[in-house]
């Protein structure tokens, strides 16, 4: 559950090539860290996996089936910002996931169904350490607490794939370490595939079972936008001496 195949995917915006020749086979249950310079297309890759955008060329499969062309509950997301709904309390933010599923028309649960959903939501909120803050609005939470809430919310529908776009990027180092301790057991427990974009390469190594580096394969100042980012390194971190799965350097890259 949650295996991803990306096959020869290209993304172009007008003349600008952002991603090219992206080939990836991600095993179910992997924790893949994605690093790369700013603007190289990391968020773009996540948008493709969400189904928010279509690749210009190539195909993406999830568990062997073509990716749906819109976001759905099988793929969760946590952003660096704007992940949670400001108009709902901590409890409301998690509860709404169950309400979307249980009440097509009103989007609100009543009676026993509501109480059951609240119990489930509170269990998730407790798991991320926000049990004491269930009634607060996000704007009254600290940055770290907001991200923990975002994680709890993203887990509510039990996604097969969890996408994290610099989820801890705005947090200071101490809190970041806390978040690492939080996300690891959740990942194991839920058995999902995680793709995490990060700017912190140490974080990438610490959390991932695999590390992918996206970068432009050629820097040509005259025609920067004609060369997209490729996967330049792909490391298996589960082995003792993390060795490359494969090198993706192109013959044209100057050594």
């Amino acid at each position: 559950m949650g295996a991803i195949s990306v096959r020869n995917v290209w993304v172009e915006y007008g003349d600008q090539i952002v991603l090219e020749r992206i080939n990836l086979e991600i095993a179910s249950g992997a924790f893949v860290s994605i690093v790369g310079p700013s603007g190289c297309g990391k968020s773009t890759l996540l948008r493709l996996l969400l189904g928010q955008e279509k690749p210009t060329r190539g195909t993406i499969l999830i568990d062997g089936r073509p990716l749906p062309d819109e976001p759905g509950p099988d793929r969760g997301i946590v952003y660096q910002r704007y992940s949670v709904f400001p108009h709902l309390t901590v409890l409301g933010n998690v509860l709404i996931a169950y309400e979307f599923a249980g009440s097509r028309l009103l989007g609100r649960l009543m009676g026993r169904a509501r109480r059951a959903a609240i119990d489930e939501a509170l269990a998730l909120i407790k798991a991320v350490g926000l049990a004491l803050h269930a009634k607060k609005y996000p704007s009254t939470l600290s940055g770290g607490m907001q991200q923990r809430l975002a994680i709890a919310q993203a887990l509510a529908r039990k996604p097969r794939v969890l996408l994290l776009d610099e989820p801890f990027g705005a947090l200071d180092p101490g809190i970041r370490a806390h978040m690492h301790e939080l996300i690891r057991p959740l990942w194991r427990e839920h058995g999902m595939t995680v793709l995490m974009v990060t700017h912190d390469i140490k974080e990438g190594f610490a959390l991932g079972t695999r590390l992918i580096v996206l970068d432009k394969w050629r820097d040509d100042p005259q025609a920067a936008e004609r060369f997209g980012a490729v996967i330049t390194y792909d490391l298996d971190l589960t082995r003792d001496n993390a060795g490359p799965v494969r090198f993706c350097n192109e013959p044209t890259v100057a050594s």
Binding site: G72, Y82, F85, P86, H87, L88, I96, R104, G107
Partner: protein, 273 residues
């Protein structure tokens, strides 16, 4: 000496400063009125406060000799009925259509340009059309307010919905929300504070349309009364009526602001940080 920009009044000082301009205006009026009366005892332009108090007493407390009704209350209830119906309908249209345009790209493609054009139609210019089509009764006055206010509300709310971060819309979909659920549980609640703000901004235009329509064709109403007594240069009635209308509009504005603060605490908490 601190910079002027860093000097703020205390609580009581703030109140005193707020009342000062009102007091000054009252003072200037009283002095002007007394001076004109001294020159011409029959002056009608600036009646003294005592005469205005008499006029208010007649309008607000004594039944009218002809109809037996208390004029100020019939006028007020007639006007507020029209205003309430017009603003209520406009709000409903603004919310539903604004939400549809803000959430559904197909509806936006079909309606957004039309709404942008309709916004530019001067409502007063089509008032004769409304009188012809809907008659001189209540309907044409309510419709004038709706036509004058609703297009602005639609556009403003569509913008507000479009300004929400895309992340929210994607997020809701990853939690399994349908279009309807995104609209009703994610977008609508978040644009409610803006709806109230937009209605507050519309109060002025709504009163303008109400008074204009009443001035042209009506049997009762605050605007009707003002334009009726204008023939007798009855400033002693007109001025209190204007003050009364202003007070009503101000109270509505204040009430809506309070409502917004009480109903959407999450929208305020943001400003505190």
């Amino acid at each position: 000496m601190r910079r002027a920009m860093n000097i703020a009044p205390e609580r009581t000082g703030r109140l005193a400063l707020a009342l000062l301009p009102f007091a000054l205006i009252a003072l200037v009026y009283v002095a002007g009125s007394a001076q004109r009366r001294a020159v011409n005892p029959n002056d009608k332009l600036l009646p003294p406060v005592s005469e205005m108090a008499d006029a208010v007493h007649r309008a607000a407390l004594e039944p009218d000799r002809r109809s037996g009704e208390i004029v100020l209350w019939t006028d007020t209830s007639a006007s507020l009925g029209r205003l309430g119906a017009g603003l209520g309908l406009a709000t409903l249209i603004g919310l539903t259509l604004g939400l549809a345009i803000g959430v559904l790209p197909l509806v936006a493609a079909a309606l957004a340009p039309l709404v942008a054009v309709i916004c530019m139609v001067p409502p007063m210019a089509i008032l004769p059309v409304l009188f012809i089509v809907f008659g001189l009764g209540e309907l044409s006055k309510v419709v004038l307010i709706v036509i004058g206010v609703a297009p602005f509300l639609v556009r403003d709310l569509a913008f507000a919905a479009a300004r929400l971060p895309t992340e929210h819309l994607v997020k809701a979909q990853t939690l399994g929300a349908s279009t309807w659920q995104v609209a009703t549980r994610v977008v609508a609640p978040q644009i409610m504070p803006r709806l109230i703000e937009a209605v507050r901004l519309s109060l002025g235009p709504a009163f303008l349309f109400l008074i204009s329509a009443e001035a042209i064709a009506a049997e009762s109403g605050l605007g009707y009364r003002i334009f009726l007594v204008r023939r007798y240069l009855a400033m002693d009635t007109i001025l209190p009526y204007v003050a009364w209308i202003t007070l009503i509009a101000y109270a509505m504005d204040l009430g809506l602001a309070r409502l917004s603060r009480a109903a959407f605490p999450w929208a305020q908490a943001d400003e505190g940080r």
